[in-house]
């Protein structure tokens, strides 16, 4: 089937995107529309004594200025955390309250203090500048190590030492014993740099309160509109669920940053009620840098022990995780269950221990960002493997091979059980594709030009398809992580898929339709996908954690199973055959081995005309399913990066980047390649270019693209991709997920290549020209100077 599973079909949604006809939240125009702007805390920590809005309110066209205490009086709740973590001493985590707008203390530069509603966006912004804050600046804690040091300024009074939780996983005693008798021990301190998500479309909200109907509508940039509605209803007390519709229309990228329900969106809903106007707010890029949840920001000390044969005997990590001023929705789980559970990597490790201390600082909240915890784990493991190989004088690929897991399912020492994989073959393919055999000659040629060549590996595994509801519930999750789908067959046989997944760049309108076209043998054009509207789709958990394939599509398959069963009953009845003999092929429902058949559209028509259905059968052809996954899925891959460093300037040029991945079954190879391209580019961005920097006082230095360096086309090579699929045995299509793999696996490959080139392992991300040049100054390599 040319449009079914495995077909390289062009994306159905791209026509509207590339012709500028997409409809994003900021494109929404409604009656009675006013515009909001926020007054923000100008310093990292302050007691707000007063808000003087008189100047703003005096401006013609300014409708209202409201503040946090008023919101509190109206009963609007504080922002919540979606996952409760228990510290190793058995105590629950402690975190500071997050008021949607500041009631007394501003805790980071950008903390919302007041909302201004005005007739135009320009006027709202001008008026916000005219609001005067009377505040008293307080001492602030900015860096994660400083914030955890003795005597650090307290971010919240109720969180002593700024320590939110002190969590552990694995067996500390077993690790200590194994390390004590290890033949070789490698140690490294690594910084996983803080990143800004930079979705192309900034966050936006249009909040509409209909007083006559006592009903709210929120258009917003969300990866999970149903979760947003649940949280806004159950916890923020904006409106009960049946009186609140949340619509996430076209959304231009999320990378995790649009999972969360932010203060601005809540406040716009409340302000719509207060003012009787529809309220639109769209973040500008400066606000996005300041207030979108940042990613990563870990400092990790890692220790790995080996026996004389190069087998890992133990792995230990101690991590400080910067959570920022407030605990964002999934901020607590990212450094713990999405990080600590991956510490075995793709290796058979007999003893593992991970400790994570989560720390409040006077910076923007930090939460899940493409990969979420798994890039941090992968970086620690893969840099340790490369460093250990160098210290022991072994080939880094061979050290990996000695430790690869080879039998599946594999139970790690840190909760997870891997489903399937073939790590040796994947690495073989990558080495061949990257022409590792020819590297020595290329290195010599580069040296003749005064350049330093290096080669670095990353063989990674990650956990996608989050996640079995009961399992995550037992670990502290507030929600279940199943997905829903509804398959509606129309009387003419066309099919509508309603899904709780949300597409914000992933191409679901194409890939989900491919699954249906494949199953029913109908043209792709006869299948449409509906998502992103709580009035259309009953419920769903949304898109993140590479879950829309393994979980979202599995729900569709489960609903299709029911549709197919009913269709077969109708066909058997109409064709006077046994139900067991009915097969669906190429858009026909037929009796196997005969020429008796019905076209698919005839089944649809029969179901809705209902003149001749089996006795007792309800008319119609529409089925729904909820799918709760049995386990995570475990995509894995082998990445090889080859770089050339200019020792005079410290500039790194990525010459070649090879990625051989195991994503299980692939629905659309073109879309999967796009995901790998984007993911690897984000990983290269983290490794070479990107870093959120606050100064000592907590002012954001990287507040624009003048200082925050995003990867550009000329920063990355043309990628060299291949696949080695071992379909997951645990979901119906054998899917593993591909959305994050590139960002998870690539940073250590890049840094391993650079450290190979420059001859020192002492290098932190981002490996900017300054960082690489500085590292080179501390190394006396024969080639470094000239």
């Amino acid at each position: 089937m040319s449009e079914g599973i495995g077909a390289r079909v062009a994306r159905k949604e791209d026509r509207r995107f590339i012709t500028g006809k997409g409809k994003y939240t900021d494109d929404v125009r409604v009656d009675n529309q006013a515009y909001a702007a926020f007054v923000r805390c100008p310093v990292a920590h302050a007691k707000i004594n007063g808000v003087d809005a008189s100047g703003a309110l005096a401006m013609e066209g300014v409708i209202a200025v409201h503040t946090g205490p008023e919101m509190k009086e109206d009963g609007i709740g504080d922002l919540i955390t979606g996952w409760a973590i228990t510290s190793k001493d058995g105590n629950p985590m402690q975190c500071g309250a997050w008021n949607p707008m500041v009631t007394t203390y501003g805790r980071y530069v950008g903390d919302a203090v007041a909302i201004v509603v005005a007739e135009t966006q320009e006027l709202a912004r001008r008026a916000a500048e005219a609001v005067e804050l009377d505040y008293e600046e307080l001492p602030a804690s900015i860096g994660v190590e400083d914030a955890f040091a003795d005597g650090a300024a307290q971010v919240h009074e109720n969180v002593p030492g700024n320590l939110i939780y002190d969590w552990e996983i694995g067996d500390e005693a077993k690790v200590a014993e194994a390390l004590a008798s290890a033949h070789h021990v490698t140690e490294l301190k690594m910084v996983n740099n803080r990143l800004s998500p930079n979705a192309m479309e900034p966050r936006s909200a249009v909040a509409i309160f209909d007083e006559a109907e006592d009903h709210y509508t929120l258009y917003t940039t969300s990866q999970n509109p149903h979760v947003a509605r649940l949280v806004l209803s159950a916890f923020y007390n904006v409106a009960p669920e049946h009186k609140l519709r949340v619509i996430a229309p076209d959304v231009g990228g999320g990378f995790g940053s649009k999972i969360y329900i932010y203060p601005e969106e809540i406040t716009c809903l409340w302000a719509s009620m207060k003012t009787g106007r529809s309220v639109k707010w769209t973040s500008d890029r400066s606000e996005a840098f300041m207030t979108d949840a940042h990613g990563r920001d870990h400092v990790t000390k890692a220790t790995m022990g080996f026996d004389a044969g190069g087998r890992i005997v133990a792995f230990k990590t101690d991590t400080l995780a910067n959570i920022g001023a407030y605990v964002s929705l999934f901020a607590t789980v990212t450094p713990t269950y999405l990080h600590g559970t991956l510490l075995s990597g793709c290796y058979d490790m007999p003893a593992i221990y991970g400790n994570v201390k989560a720390i409040h600082t006077n910076t923007a909240p930090v939460d899940a960002y493409r990969g979420a915890g798994r890039p941090e784990a992968t970086y620690s493991i893969e840099r340790m493997m490369e460093t250990a190989a160098r210290e022991m004088g072994m080939d880094p690929a061979e050290l990996r091979r000695k430790n690869f897991i080879t039998e599946f399912p594999y139970q790690t020492q840190v909760i997870l059980q891997y489903d399937s994989g073939d790590y040796h073959k994947t690495l073989d393919m990558a080495q061949e594709a990257a022409d590792v055999a020819g590297f020595a000659a290329r290195k010599a040629e580069a040296a003749s030009r005064g350049k330093l060549r290096g080669l670095g590996y990353s063989t990674f595994v990650e956990a996608c398809g989050i996640a079995p509801s009961a399992a995550v519930g037992s670990l502290g999750s507030a929600v279940g992580l199943w997905e829903s789908a509804e398959v509606r067959v129309n009387p003419v046989g066309s099919v509508e898929i309603l899904t709780g997944s949300h597409s914000h760049g992933q191409g679901h309108e194409t890939t989900f339709a491919q699954v249906v076209a494949d199953r029913l043998g109908i043209p792709l054009d006869n299948v449409s996908v509906v998502h992103g509207d709580t009035d259309k789709v009953q419920f769903g958990m949304g898109t993140y954690g590479s879950r829309s394939g393994p979980v979202g599509m599995s729900a569709i398959v489960k609903a299709l199973d029911k549709v197919e069963a009913k269709a077969k009953k109708i066909a058997a009845h109409t064709l006077e055959a046994s139900e067991d003999d009915i097969v669906i092929e190429n858009g026909e429902v037929k009796v196997a081995g005969t020429d008796k058949s019905m076209a698919w559209h005839e089944i649809g028509l029969a179901a809705y005309i209902a003149h001749n259905l089996p006795e007792g059968m309800e008319p119609g052809l529409k089925e729904a399913a909820f799918y709760d996954p049995l386990n995570f899925s475990f995509p894995a891959g082998a990445l090889i990066c080859e770089v050339e460093v200019d020792p005079e300037t410290g500039v790194t040029d990525i010459i070649n980047f090879t990625a051989v991945d195991d994503f299980g079954t692939i629905i659309n190879p073109m879309i999967v390649e796009g995901q790998v391209h984007g993911g690897v580019t984000q990983g290269i961005g983290q490794a070479l270019l990107e870093q959120v920097v606050y100064d000592e006082s907590g002012q954001l230095i990287t507040g624009s693209y003048m200082d925050y360096c995003m990867p550009r086309a000329d920063d990355v090579p043309s990628y060299n991709l291949d696949h080695n699929a071992t379909p997951s045995p645990l979901n119906p299509l054998g899917l593993k997920g591909c959305g994050e793999a590139g960002a998870i696996g690539s940073p250590p490959a890049v840094i391993n290549a650079i450290t190979d080139a420059i001859g020192t392992n002492e290098l932190q991300m981002p490996a900017t020209p300054l960082a690489v040049w500085t590292a080179l100054q501390s190394v006396k390599t024969p080639m470094a100077a000239e």
């Binding site: 270019l689 200082d707 925050y708 300054l770």
Partner: protein, 265 residues
């Protein structure tokens, strides 16, 4: 509030008159710095006087061993101009490497020089080539024109009308771009001229563009990159930020100078 009146005079006299009556007038000549600054409310002029409509303001000509470039000539015009390419190819290459295509299609040489952004490319060429800044009032030697970061010898209502570049024997430019903004973090323009070797550095110094005498001395003896092998520049007076320490910038000055000399034609 923030209202700005836009003027597009056809002559220098009309431009001066418009500036004279404005409460707070600013000359607009491409707007690649001024307009973003206004969008961020860091500048709020009452009047913008656009000099791009002034007759002949974007002309490029060659005479008496010098290339004269009108102040309103856009970077893309300079990069593509046959006279500039023939007589001072390093200047054409420099113009073709400013910003991105959108910036080069709007930004002008006069605007860049008058703004004297410490990370702009042109000031290094103006200083190294010993160019003359021509205004509606006088002619100013490059040496006297640049007076520190964003500071120049220009008086109120003085409009740069052209830049006159003596044709060098040989010249080259090499730029190390800031990884994020891609402005020059260190840009070195090296020229062999009738008056000897002149080397000017942009992007790196706390006081904007400056001449690197140590490099000029070494290159005066031999205009080759090898001559700079043993020359290092001190880090005093160098800018420092998250992209480069003062030491790193000082190091890059020598590296970029060598590359400029290797590029020189």
């Amino acid at each position: 509030m923030y209202q700005t009146k836009y003027h597009k005079p056809g002559s220098v006299e009309d431009a001066v008159a418009a500036l004279g009556v404005a409460e707070e007038g600013k000359i607009l000549s491409g707007g690649q710095t001024l307009l973003p600054t206004m969008k961020q409310h860091l500048a709020a002029p009452t009047d913008l006087v656009d000099v791009r409509g002034i007759d002949g303001m974007d002309a490029i000509s060659v005479s008496d061993g010098a290339v004269t470039i009108g102040a309103a000539a856009r970077h893309a015009d300079v990069a593509a101009n046959a006279d500039v390419q023939t007589h001072i190819p390093a200047l054409a290459a420099l113009a073709g490497g400013i910003g991105d295509p959108a910036v080069r299609a709007m930004g002008t040489i006069g605007g860049s020089v008058a703004n004297n952004d410490p990370a702009a490319d042109y000031p290094s060429a103006v200083l190294a080539l010993n160019a003359t800044v021509v205004t509606n009032k006088r002619e100013i030697a490059a040496e006297d024109f640049f007076q520190g970061m964003f500071a120049t010898a220009l008086e109120d209502a003085e409009i740069v009308t052209a830049l006159r570049f003596p044709v060098p024997t040989k010249a080259g430019y090499a730029k190390f771009p800031n990884p994020a903004s891609r402005y020059a973090m260190v840009g070195v323009f090296a020229a062999q001229t009738d008056g000897g070797v002149r080397v000017a550095v942009t992007g790196a110094g706390e006081d904007g563009v400056f001449r690197a005498e140590a490099l000029e001395g070494a290159l005066g003896a031999s205009f080759s990159s090898d001559a700079l092998d043993a020359v290092s520049i001190g880090s005093d007076g160098m800018l420092a930020d998250i992209h480069g320490t003062a030491e790193y910038r000082a190091h890059l000055v020598t590296v970029m100078a060598k590359r400029a000399v290797d590029n020189a034609v």
